[in-house]
């Protein structure tokens, strides 16, 4: 089962390799200045040569990302449950939730800096602000999609509201919750970098800015590479946890084999 799962990504892997080879050849044959577009091999070399510095900055960004994701998950779940609690709550909260996403955070960022300063706090906040929405909405949709007949069955058993939530709605909403979580995980690293761009002492966002200001294009690409790898790893981790947590959702077929 596992092998087949990995093999499923074969075409994507092949395509990525082909694109990288074309890129490498294009830069090599076309004598493109490495300051405009460095070749993939040069980027990996740049990454290795500057690993200790990049690692330093990566840890900072990663910490902001995971703390922001934890906060977003908690807030997203609580909001989803509140939305689901009553029609009244849904009508009160949902429009505000949507409205909150129409605020360009890029416009708020300077204020965040002035309000909260240069510490890790505002970056965690930016990550959480970007990530809680897909989690909350996906999870609320999952909760709302519980079958009415099932609710009837639970009511005939004299189940309380909390029992319905805990025994039926919440477990049933888990696949949607994980979809939201995966989207959030994809955004979160970029959100942390954006938070750092506004002003920070350290982090991949700051590293990117430093290198960009020094025209060190190879290092810029190396940092982008790290960003992409981090995002993919987080996405993969969420998928892995989903597979562990929801065997019935993924593994139901696997059981019969």
């Amino acid at each position: 089962m596992k092998l087949r799962w990995i093999a499923g990504y074969g075409p994507a892997f092949v395509l990525a390799v082909v694109l990288l080879v074309i890129w490498q050849l294009y830069v090599g044959v076309g004598h493109i200045s490495p300051r405009l577009l460095p070749a993939p091999i040069a980027i990996v070399q740049g990454l290795i040569n500057n690993w200790s510095v990049i690692y330093d900055n990566t840890i900072q960004t990663l910490l902001e990302t995971v703390l922001g994701m934890v906060a977003a998950t908690v807030v997203g779940l609580v909001l989803a449950i509140m939305l689901d609690a009553s029609n009244w709550m849904r009508r009160a909260i949902y429009p505000l939730l949507i409205a909150s996403q129409t605020i360009p955070i890029i416009a708020l960022a300077p204020l965040l800096l002035i309000w909260f300063g240069y510490d890790i706090g505002p970056k965690v906040l930016v990550v959480a602000l970007y990530s809680f929405f897909p989690i909350a909405v996906a999870c609320a949709d999952g909760l709302a999609s519980a079958e009415p007949e099932l609710m009837k069955l639970l009511r005939s058993m004299r189940a309380t509201r909390w029992q319905m939530l805990w025994l039926v709605r919440l477990p049933g909403a888990m696949p949607s919750f994980f979809s939201g979580l995966r989207i959030a995980a994809t955004y979160s690293v970029t959100a942390a970098i954006f938070g750092e761009y506004v002003g920070a002492a350290k982090g991949l966002g700051i590293y990117l800015q430093l290198e960009a200001n020094s025209f060190a294009t190879i290092q810029v690409f190396a940092a982008i590479l790290v960003t992409a790898i981090l995002s993919l790893l987080l996405f993969g981790l969420v998928s892995l946890i989903e597979r562990i947590a929801l065997p019935w959702y993924h593994g139901a077929i696997a059981r019969t084999m």
Partner: protein, 256 residues
């Protein structure tokens, strides 16, 4: 005579959803004695499921009284094991965990609940599927799991709403025999909804025939067949006669 398990007296139900009030039940009287198997048949859309929801305590009647074990408690929910048309198994729970759902709602300790569920699965031949997820089961199996869930929640009074409606003929027959087996084991009182006249005759002690909407009781028929029942009983002359009578009655209602 003992106190009936269920006593329904002059129950009516009118829905006020749209502009026009919708009269669904027009005075229903019904009893189920202890250990009795009673079926309700009627044309589709006549309000059988509404009656069930009212008895199960999920909905309230517009007027009339319902007494279970002689108690006319407004919060009847929990006094009957209710099984809807779909099996409605929870996909994230294994068969055993689905069976013990009712005990979870009653806050029975998990260990005890598992023991009870396991005993029941073993007794009715489903033990080997205990750890399966419902998605790996056939339709007939799912219905049996749902029935055991109902039995484990409340074995003294079962409300079964067309449980075998969606099964193919052979599976349905096997499931019917299996249900009789369960009923016999626990001496449950059963109220059973069906479209199928033969099914009603095969299973029941008594059959209520309902009219088209607004539903009222057209006729109450005693099924005077020996137990334990087998399919051969359906071939007896009085069974055939009864089936023809009931079908004729229902056809008349259906055409209205």
């Amino acid at each position: 005579m003992d106190m009936p398990k269920l006593l329904v007296q002059d129950v009516t139900k009118t829905f006020h959803n749209g502009r026009q009030p919708l009269e669904t039940l027009a005075s229903i009287d019904l009893t189920v004695a202890g250990g009795e198997f009673v079926s309700i048949i009627g044309p589709s859309g006549c309000g059988k499921s509404t009656l069930f929801n009212i008895i199960a305590g999920v909905e309230e009647p517009s007027s009339g009284t319902i007494a279970i074990d002689g108690e006319m408690d407004a919060s009847r929910a929990g006094r009957a094991g209710y099984m809807p048309q779909q099996p409605l198994l929870l996909p994230w729970r294994t068969v055993e965990e689905n069976v013990l759902l009712g005990l979870d709602v009653r806050r029975v300790p998990r260990k005890e609940a598992h023991q009870e569920a396991h005993k029941l699965l073993k007794r009715f031949g489903l033990a080997e599927f205990a750890e399966n997820y419902p998605s790996t089961l056939s339709g007939g199996m799912r219905q049996r799991v749902a029935l055991l869930r109902t039995v484990l929640f409340n074995r003294s009074f079962l409300l079964l709403d067309e449980p075998f409606g969606a099964l193919d003929a052979l599976t349905r027959l096997a499931s019917q025999m299996w249900l009789l087996n369960v009923w016999d084991e626990f001496h449950s009182s059963v109220l059973f909804i069906t479209h199928d006249v033969r099914e009603a005759i095969l299973l029941s002690d008594r059959i209520y025939v309902l009219s088209a909407r607004p539903a009222r009781v057209l006729r109450v028929v005693e099924v005077d067949l020996p137990r334990p029942r087998t399919t051969e009983h359906l071939a007896l002359e009085r069974s055939v006669q009864l089936e023809q009578d009931l079908v004729a009655l229902l056809m008349k209602e259906q055409s209205i």
